[in-house]
Amino acid sequence: MATDVTERPAPDVDEENAGYWDSLRRHELALQRCADCGRFWSPAGSFCRWCLSDRWSWERVSGRGTLYAFTVVHQVYHPAFREAAPYPAAVVELEEGPRLLATVDCAPRELRVGMALEVGYRDLPEGFTLLAFRPVTGGTR
């Protein structure tokens, strides 16, 4: 049986972060929010990052944010990215506070730290969904 080496590597989905990856699949970005201190956190974990409470729920976030940092990857590290390179990868800061690893759906030369973004999704044939934020036209927050 031949292995398809062009398959994009999959995220490690486990009991702690399954709620996050499921929310991406539904195109309804959700993070854990603490019932005691009210704060969101990422990456997923069984206890609040800020007060260690175990009272929390998955809550949908606004999907609005800004570009905190980015790179444009030229090196082909994996055959699945040969066609895409050079491709952007980014850290996006959500209005609610947490930062997330994501990609941005625009030409690499248009990327600017601080640019306003709104959430988008990329459903991959490998069976999972990634965050692909979109620039908000004319916006800088």
Partner: protein, 379 residues
């Protein structure tokens, strides 16, 4: 009690660096230990602790115990520390504590790996969130840091290039360095992007090789084959959280580690004659110089220009070539060079009258940081 000057490095040794096909991590480690013991004038039986950082490319349980066996030492203490590129300095601290508390008297600390030609088991099957977004290995993560530093402080690619030019200049003066040819700023600018804003010449190579040091008490050190090089200060600071979740990308653990070590040593940056700062990427020494207080935050880019960090400049940096020029090994070579500079053994690349050297180690993606202040004497 201030440990300043109570411990010393009495032996250093290393192998060749580069592509060493057919050499295992163990074989390289044993050669480095043999060379460090010969340098110290010691036999294996004189050493009672074997401390290691596990090979990055093939993480192995109880690695330090296996190294002890291979060098024929039945030790009192073995330990492997997982602070990635900060581990070697972290292990100096562990050696100091074991000696202070009477658990051992003389420790050999060794790192060896063969990622260039041997197993790359750690990287064999990429997966996880980073890989899903195309963030493989280390360079794209440091690219986020470099880009953010450029955004916040106006740091330029030419300033990153100045670090690479200085390191390669020094490597060309070191017959043991992997890279023997100097480069220019134009070479740096012409090199391809790996992950913007980092170019190929902003990145250290992946190298085979090993290096080792021998640490003992100042009392035992006096009268050994080589003059002791004293540990004046040591510190660490570990931001720990993954890059996306950290409060800042432009300040490293050096901001706490450096002042801790400098305070212990009773010095300020102005007292430092030569620096060996971890340089897996050109942005790293720039951030470290700022966080150590050699310049204000954000002025690291300007600091490294105008030849200031080259031999003959105000603060010669990475005089053996560092990770960028001597070998991509994660940090032990920097301690070895620091010791040789304090002994005055560096020939054409010797910093005249060097008495104090600061060495840094950094692991992960600015995840860990450690600082070592070495002295020719105890001031």
């Amino acid at each position: 009690m201030n440990p300043r000057g109570r411990y010393a490095v009495v032996g250093v040794g290393n192998t060749a660096y580069g592509k060493l096909a057919g050499r295992s991590a163990m074989s390289l480690s044993v050669e480095a230990v043999r060379n460090a013991l010969a340098d110290a004038g010691l036999r294996p039986a004189d050493v009672d602790a074997v401390l290691t950082k596990a090979p990055t490319s093939n993480f192995t349980m109880l690695w330090s115990a296996q190294v002890a066996q291979a060098v024929g030492i039945v030790p009192q203490v073995t330990a492997t520390l997982d602070q990635a590129g900060a581990s070697n300095i972290g292990l100096v601290g562990y050696a100091m504590w074991c000696i202070e508390t009477g658990q051992c008297h003389t420790a050999v600390i060794v790192y060896g790996d063969n990622p260039a030609t041997g197993s790359r088991a750690t990287y064999a099957r990429p997966r996880g969130e980073g890989a899903a977004y195309g963030m493989f290995g280390v360079p794209p993560w440091y690219a986020l840091i470099a880009q953010r530093h450029m955004h916040e402080y106006g740091t330029t690619s030419e300033q990153l290039g100045a670090v690479a030019v200085a390191c390669r200049k020094h490597a060309a003066m070191n017959p043991g360095a992997q890279f023997q040819s100097p480069i220019t700023l134009e070479d740096h600018h012409a090199s391809r992007f790996v992950a913007e804003p980092l170019r190929l010449l902003d990145c250290c190579p992946i190298s085979d090789g090993a290096a080792a040091i021998v640490v003992t008490s100042a009392e035992r050190a006096s009268g050994m084959r080589k003059p002791p090089v004293y540990v004046l200060g040591i510190g660490q600071g570990h931001p720990a959280w993954d890059v996306p979740y950290r409060s800042t990308l432009t300040t490293s653990g050096a901001a706490t580690s450096g002042p801790m070590a400098f305070r212990m040593a009773g010095i300020t940056p102005a007292d430092v004659d030569v620096a060996q700062l971890y340089d897996c990427f050109t942005i790293v020494p720039i951030v470290t110089l700022e966080d150590y207080g050699f310049c204000a935050k954000g002025e690291g880019g300007a600091f490294v220009e105008q030849g200031r960090i080259a031999l003959g400049g105000a603060l010669p940096l990475n005089t053996s070539g560092g990770l960028l020029g001597e070998t991509g090994m994660p940090g032990m070579q920097l301690i070895v060079e620091g010791v040789r500079q304090m002994r005055g053994e560096c020939g054409g690349r010797q910093v005249p009258d060097a008495r104090i050297c600061v060495v840094s180690g950094q692991g992960g993606v600015m995840t860990t940081h450690a600082t070592l202040v070495l002295g020719k004497e105890v001031p």
